[in-house]
Point group: C2
Chain length 354, copies 2
């Protein structure tokens, strides 16, 4: 039987651990895996594009465990009351090929994205960063806010969204959370939100080459956490920001980021650093207080691998052990699959019914 974590079970798990601590534990799991970067089989995700969105499969393995995530991106879904991004994933045992866990990953994708962004920022933002601009106040914004409050000690959030209802929703949700010492400031424009912030997080959703951040907004020493630009033709930063001589760009996995990230605008040029090298201490993400650092996050299969393993352990550790589903047959004799499909008992049952 395969373990199953549906949305209700995920709610229970997050509620038991607490959202901030859940993201922090996830970040630790992700950091541990990125530090053994070379042990993983890596590939760009397998995307199927349509005129209205994309469906992607994101597999990876360390030779012991295998995982993949199914994820879609459909910006127009909200108009019919549906989510822009939904996801689910599977963790499997490489030695047998058997799936171990099937889990919802719509919530998990938001949680793990926030976790890796905060993890990267801990190595990239100036020490003592306390103020963050949050541009784009949609589905992922609360997760970013919680992660940066919990892992970086952000105490001032400067919010802006072109849709004022999104900002109102974010403020309402943050108020409910009663995060310690957090000041939330509603701003009238991106420029106003960004002005004076230590960290700028962009997490907008339109599938186009947007210029959410323009060069004159960027101040020396800022850390830019670019989350929303994550597929070909979908970017948030003006290209000149990437071309600043003092800019240091960190990505999850360079071959994928070149296609999907902000750096798709560089057409293969420019130097970028992979996060694993920073976490391993092999490369530094910031040399001075004045450099501009950019985490160009697009989402990578390894982050989902870490998340699924964390979830599998957390779920199994609960006293109730969680639910299992009959996704894989368990025949008495593995060489006799057919008898497993047509057991004599059910044949008898059918005869009786007939």
């Amino acid at each position: 039987m395969v373990h199953y974590i549906g949305t209700e079970r995920l709610r229970e798990l997050v509620s038991r651990v607490g959202c901030g601590r859940f993201i922090e534990e996830l970040a630790a799991e992700i950091a541990a895996d990125y530090q053994r970067w070379n042990e993983f089989e890596k590939s760009a995700r397998l995307a199927s594009h349509s005129t209205v969105g994309v469906i992607e499969l994101m597999p990876t393995t360390d030779g012991k465990l295998y995982s993949f995530k199914y994820v879609n991106g459909h910006p127009k879904n909200t108009a019919q009351g549906l989510l822009t991004v939904t996801a689910f994933g599977v963790l499997a045992d490489v030695s047998t090929g058997y799936p171990l866990l099937l889990s919802e990953m719509t919530f998990v994708t938001a949680l793990r994205t926030a976790a890796i962004c905060a993890l990267a920022a801990r190595h990239m933002a100036r020490a003592g960063s306390r103020s963050m601009a949050l541009i784009g106040n949609g589905a992922q914004s609360e997760f970013q806010a919680i992660a940066f409050h919990q892992l970086l000690g952000i105490r001032e959030l400067r919010l802006y969204d072109t849709d004022s209802r999104a900002t109102a929703k974010l403020i309402r949700n943050l108020a409910r959370l009663q995060l310690q010492d957090l000041t939330v400031i509603r701003c009238g424009s991106t420029a106003e939100a960004v002005c004076g912030a230590d960290i700028v997080t962009t997490v907008t959703a339109d599938k186009c080459n947007a210029t959410v951040l323009t060069p004159e907004m960027i101040e020396p020493g800022m850390h830019i956490n670019g989350v929303g630009g994550d597929c070909p033709g979908k970017t948030e930063l003006h290209g000149d920001i990437l071309l600043r001589p003092d800019a240091r760009i960190v990505v999850e996995y360079e071959p994928q980021a070149r296609v999907e990230g902000e750096i798709q605008q560089l057409n293969g040029a420019g130097r970028v650093t992979e996060l694993a090298q920073v976490l391993l201490g092999k490369q530094s993400a910031r040399a001075t207080e004045l450099e501009v650092t950019i985490f160009d996050s697009v989402g990578f299969a390894l982050t989902d691998f870490s998340s699924l393993r964390y979830l599998h352990r957390l779920n199994s550790e609960q006293p109730d052990g969680g639910q299992r589903i009959d996704l894989i047959p368990e025949p008495d004799d593995p060489k006799d699959l057919f008898a497993g499909l047509t057991p004599q008992t059910s044949r008898l049952r059918r005869r009786r019914t007939a």
Copy 2:
């Protein structure tokens, strides 16, 4: 909510329809899809190999529906009481990216493989074929036997397996089925089983370049249904059989068959025909009674697509409608994912518990 077909539900569905009719309906669904071959986005499967097996993802789409299958192949699994091949799959709506159905596909893979093999044989074997050799009497053999009995009118089965217990199991299962007018003959060798047969089905499991069939066994007019050779380094036919001047080779999808099928032995040479062209009547698979025809089946994503759509319809048509699982969140406001993760009711519940 996503529809769910677990192994118990699949047993019910097959039992309600009957195994032979289930395969026949599946074959009709597969034929209809292969006849609109050009509407599908096709790619070779994404394989992750380890020393003991392989895990694969097999996606495809026609622009309206999207499907993928997860499937593993681990020949040594049976030693620890596990299945060599397990699988599950998902059917999704391209317009929203939402998954519609999650289904077990371990049983379905065996059913659909038998269905497409019988479908191909209807166009490739000599008219009036009545006798089939079945070499390899393992997990898939019953499905091949039923499919060829149902769709081609095979009335004599000539069985051989290096493991005599496998043959005994197949005979036992076939006896239970009481298939109309079927004679089952147990043979002492592959050569004995093949001798005089109209159709030769090879469905062995070892991950190696085996030579289950050698050139001197092949008689004019035979149809060879090669099922077991399905990944790099795993073949069943002696290469000279493929090189016969009178041999006509049909595959599901040439780019994948060149890597995974029997024709990997040809190193890119030789002419092969895709099944779709045969089903569309654009190419003939047999010109004379004396030619040797070979269906070099490796399993292709489109066959799984057809199977998932058939299952989804069949499942929905049942009076009970089937089970659903909470794989995807259904928040009140799609722009407020966070509130869906931490509903106020569950917050209240937690407070009360605390």
